[in-house]
């Protein structure tokens, strides 16, 4: 395949940055998208040019590190992660536009690499059950209905890649935040801190400068793990009921 790669280059966080276009030949349909990027980077390196920097690690769709906005969509045309996208999804001669996630809360570090530590801080605000190691009850002393366990699992499959923020026209992090709030709100283990958790995580989400939700559904439609919008509704419910009934004045 012969391609034209139009990619965002930006030397550092303070650099202005802009699009640069590279012609690329000899790409196989069996390559993954990131392998195509590898080929391009090898060519750039051989020519003595700085390779294009992008985040990636497991390359099997689970670590959540890869983060490219490809042809106007996070992770490209399929509902999957960039690392699982293959070149057979593109056609010969095509121009492929590659950009970093765009959000004030995800500042660009270099080229296509962004800083997603805002997500870590949201989890640190309350995305856990406060139990120390040891001294916990036997695992089977906490029976959980299968449907609840399954639904909690569905929320827990979030890989924290940030595609929801990238896809949202408002750069909102509600889907990410709600997935964790939901998982723990549904499980009996999460009940003790349920109200405080919702309040704190949402306060942190706001402090990070994410946008609001317009319920367009783009986040869920583009989420590589298909995290459902139901979680956002549940988070809202959790938050409103916490606001009126929690002990935190």
């Amino acid at each position: 395949m012969k391609l034209t790669i139009k990619v965002w280059r930006q030397k550092s966080a303070t650099d202005k940055g802009g699009f640069v276009t590279y012609p690329l030949d000899g790409i196989s349909k069996d390559m993954s998208f990131l392998e195509m990027m590898d080929v391009l980077n090898e060519q750039l390196s051989e020519k003595g040019e700085d390779p294009i920097h992008f985040d990636h690690d497991c390359r099997e769709g689970i670590c959540g590190m890869c983060s490219l906005y490809i042809n106007g969509k996070p992770h490209g045309p399929l509902q999957t992660t960039t690392c699982q996208l293959h070149m057979r999804s593109f056609s010969d001669g095509e121009t492929i536009t590659i950009e970093p996630w765009r959000a004030a809360a995800f500042p660009v570090v270099k080229d296509l690499v962004v800083d997603r530590s805002a997500f870590d801080r949201i989890i640190q605000a309350g995305g856990y059950v406060s139990v120390n190691t040891g001294g916990v009850p036997d695992a089977n002393e906490i029976p959980i209905p299968k449907v609840i366990a399954d639904e909690a699992f569905d929320a827990a499959t979030c890989i924290g890649c940030g595609a929801c923020v990238a896809a949202c026209k408002n750069a909102s992090a509600m889907l990410f935040t709600s997935a964790k709030v939901s998982q723990l709100a549904m499980l009996p283990q999460g009940q003790v801190e349920r109200k405080t958790r919702a309040e704190k995580m949402i306060a942190q989400m706001d402090a990070e400068g994410f946008g609001a939700c317009t319920n367009t559904g783009a986040c869920s439609a583009e989420c590589p793990k298909g995290i459902s919008l139901t979680n956002i509704a549940r988070m809202n419910r959790e938050y409103f009921s916490a606001a009126v009934s929690s002990e935190n004045v």
Partner: protein, 227 residues
Amino acid sequence: MSWVTKTLSSTLGRKLIMALTGLFLILFLTGHVSGNLLLFKGDGGEAFNIYAKFMTTNPAVKILSYLTYISVIGHVIYSIWLTRQNKKARPIGYGMSKQSGSSSLASRNMGILGTIILIFLVVHMQSFWYQMHWGDIPMVSYEGEQYKDLFSIVSFAFQNELMVIGYVVAMAFLAFHLSHGFASAFQTLGLNHKKYSPAIETLGKLYSVVVPLLFASMPIYIYFTQS
């Protein structure tokens, strides 16, 4: 900050205001459209004028009307506040963005739709609401009682083709706004359940077609029947 202001100024709190005011305005629209159906009665506007007087003088309705004003203003102010936050959340946009597959046109353009509806609302209120309250309106008498003849104002206004077209177009925008807004309000309130949400969504779609259609048919009806 007290917990109340803290809650209401958080992103979710602001969304809550949007949803509650939106739902109240939906209720208002329901009332408004039902009352205005009297225009179709063909009695020269008698029933409509009696209804109009009731709506401007009844104390209970008065309270509701103030709530409506507050809702409109709240809905607008909070939407501006949220929009500013949203713009700030993505200071640098994408060079290429394809959103058509993953979200509906209406949902992505609620702000624009809302702005058009607001402009319409100003014109609409200037034409009728202002006239009714402070304008120079001819009086009619039914069974010995005096009434403002709002019907004649309406009939006159809708002799103008531009006015009719403008109203119909505005209702189309309203339809789009409602097609997303109705179900979206429930989602924001956290009322999402696999048993009820499909019904809410269907009701929302139905509402967003029927109500604007009824509204739009009023100027058309008057244009053709009163000329």
